[in-house]
Symmetry: D2
Subunit: 288 residues, 4 copies
């Protein structure tokens, strides 16, 4: 890689920044301000600098830039992304969670209280660094929860759900490590507001995403499977009636490496550069 | 296999009945009443015959015997099992759920309302029959929920939690199929009652199971992993503080084929026959 | 599927025939002779009708058509495929084996005697039918040989190697089932002819395939991995020096479902229809 | 771990030495000579010190002790092990290869020339160190050969096959990494000597191992599966007729962590200490 400081950006319109969390604030601050940037790290996702410093345990390195950063969950912030200079590409868990919850909270169909997110991820979510805990022999044929109640995607989720509902939302979020390379599922337990039915939730989400290329609300009763989005930029969603009256179960699946990371980054860049939004993203899911 | 009708039971003290759900009521009814029986099917688990007929969609074939059947979750019903003639061996999900919840409900430490169980199982839970949905190519590298809000283990769980709390408990129960052969985890979200702390829950469970061979409450903060009980009769448990005040997250892992099935059946038989309870069950977990 | 007998083929130029072995001879014989056909079954792969009947244990149902069938290993028979009316698409193992061996035998660089093929395949090679032997719980975390010395791909391999070397070649062929959905490797042990070196083999294969889109001879010393061709139409090849003087080890990897089946069928159809040969086949390998 | 230099061995009869290759020569040399030792590293496996230094690329640190070391493939060297002071526990591949080949070479039933060993191993064979190449995402759903013609188990195999046949044997040995945690298979291609049949090989091996607890020659035609020895100290063997006249295919499976490592070490220690040879080793294979 060419060192950033020596790079000639004079003929470059836009860059992806795929560097580790905690390193991109300084780097992006040093780039020409004419350059459009999609940052795949967590460095610009949290609008509140104090919250950033608390969860990431380090000072923020580009406080001035933070205000400019647009949170790039494409389907929820398309207009802002299209004109953005700097996009903070969302985390994988937050993408899978916000796609169903933000529209339901905005429409005041579900309660802001008692939202429980039981999330499951393939191992590539942990990156490619050589740690004992990610060895084949540790992962294969077993599973476990991790980061219970303190995963760094929590403040990102709460920031966006709070914005959608105009009140401070706190969620229960428990991620699990599943023996598969790719794939992510969020199983979300919510309380429906008085007078609202599960069918209403399904109808609302269906309408909200009816013109979207990459977010598919499945027909009633059809259960999303991670294998049906593997290797693709799709999110599959559905809503189910719970046994406990007044509760619903929402299931959302994505490929954590595509819609949950690089695919959504490309989607954002397409918007920022005024390309067709699906350019380079029409690779179909691979099964088996 | 010797046909049951032709078998000579004169020199037999006890039998395991490992036949499909829906076939053991008639068979066990035809056995000599002196014979001790552990039934691994679901045929005698539900005390309410009507509920059985509703969930299993068939008439009960041995209503008289049903009253005699003892629900065999060993650690919770040891005395009754020891003197039982007929034991209904519990389902795998119900075993993993009841071990932490029954003591907490009995002690009135958690609410009977809003209990949410997000359960995950390896593929052997679906048995060995040749179905497309259980092929390697369908299961590997993907996951999905199934039987949402209508899995047949729900009435079994609700029956026992209701008995423990002396009121009608309804639970949210969502099982998931995980790409592994063995292993089961229940992630359980509960509301703590006023004045009770997560430490209180941990202490209560630790005391309740301190003399048990097979139920291990892990030290505070240690996350149970299914791989640590693989191939063994152990259940590993722990309780965690949630972000939302007043809520706790309970994690319980077992090997669905051992403590969740045949291991617990052997444990019950050992009790019924007055053998040492751990006879034949000391195989250690296999890792990797 | 529209029944073949009722189908209107008047506006169709070509068809893929993806039906089970033993059913396509009659069907293809009943099609209009103007229609171009790529048959993915084994029905037309063996030129010798008697050999077909012996290995497949049934009479040949379209002896007349057999003469017309072109064996469609694209890189080895491109001209014949381009003008063919009926193409017999090769088996997966034979594809991985012939790509390196046919050029070396044609150039008389290796011995026709003592060729040993130790082959490994992912489970999708066994199809999607619901058999106990293909269940996740049977396959995961274990492996085994099968069809030792009597796999039906043997006569197909020997037919083509014999044609390439103008003498009757017999091979040792042992396939193994590996716990993975896709991917195939043939590890091939050969004797080099007098005066020939392993470098000569590498150079010959490199030249032979230098203009090919889908067959890549790796640089000296680089070991092919099935994961590097997963989901793609590529074949990766290399040749290695053995410890025993005068012997070489050839490794060839493909995705059994793409270059080993449907991908090669598309490649053949592209040629027959005068489309660009790589149309629809440029999907890149998926990793992880 | 207590540092070796400070340890009090006065009440110890025997030790296992489970330290990395290249570290045990010095350590064992420093132990009291009354202590019985089973060394699981490769440090004492090669009788020829020069060969050790060439393959392991370091000077031998205990040349004097080397002469004393007994190569501990239990079934083949039981008497020497029983009276040994220092046992060099064999490698996993060499164990799977020698169990069938040594008796056949000793009985002069197969040729010493052209022995081809295509070996497959689960990932635990690579140990538990945190290397990128052993991550779940690198290993799952793919396979590859490695160490072609230069794996360090080659000199160990050749040393023992040469001793068994009283002539210098060279083998072709190609190991492969398979996506499974445990399990090892050697598929071995041999030439049968004139006048000998495959049935003779099967009969000879069956007789040779008929009284062995842990080496099972399967009935004719039954293919060994690694899953049938998983977690156990068993080796399953069989011999098959090849298509090429005069050749046979031998398949040998073990669990690389048990019979291929610690299980065989315990078996050797049992012999050295005059315990029952199967003490601690009767854990049955785990399936699934």
């Amino acid at each position: 890689m060419v060192a950033v400081k020596d790079a000639d950006f004079s003929k470059v319109d836009a860059v992806f920044c795929c560097l580790p969390h905690g390193t991109t604030q300084e780097i992006i601050a040093s780039l020409p301000s004419s350059l459009k940037v999609v940052d795949l790290s967590a460095d610009f996702r949290l609008r509140d600098v104090k919250e950033y410093e608390e969860w990431y345990n380090r000072p923020h390195g580009a406080v001035g830039l933070q205000k400019e950063a647009i949170y790039g969950l494409t389907e929820l912030h398309r207009e802002a992304v299209a004109t953005a200079r700097l996009v903070a590409n969302p985390g994988c868990y937050p993408t899978s969670v916000q796609l169903p919850l933000v529209p339901l909270l905005e429409a005041k169909l579900i309660s802001t209280e008692g939202i429980i997110i039981d999330a499951k991820s393939g191992v590539s979510g942990a990156g490619r660094s050589a740690k004992e805990s990610n060895l084949y022999t540790e992962i294969s044929e077993g599973m476990n929860a991790y980061g219970i109640a303190k995963h760094r995607h929590v403040p990102e989720i709460e920031q966006e759900l709070s914005a959608a509902s105009s009140c401070a939302v706190k969620v229960s979020f428990t991620p699990h490590l599943i023996p598969m390379s790719r794939g992510m599922q969020s199983t979300i337990y919510v309380q429906i507001l008085q007078g609202v039915s599960v069918d209403d939730l399904h109808e609302h989400l269906s309408k909200r995403f009816q013109d979207e290329e990459f977010v598919i609300v499945l027909p009633k009763g059809v259960i999303p499977h991670t294998r049906n989005v593997r290797g693709s930029n799709y999110c599959h969603l559905n809503v189910f009636e719970d046994r406990i009256t007044g509760r619903a179960i929402i299931i959302s699946v994505i490929d954590n490496l595509v819609k949950g990371a690089s695919g959504q980054a490309v989607q954002n860049m397409n918007l920022m550069m005024n390309y067709d939004e699906s350019t380079g993203l029409l690779q179909q899911p691979m099964f088996p």
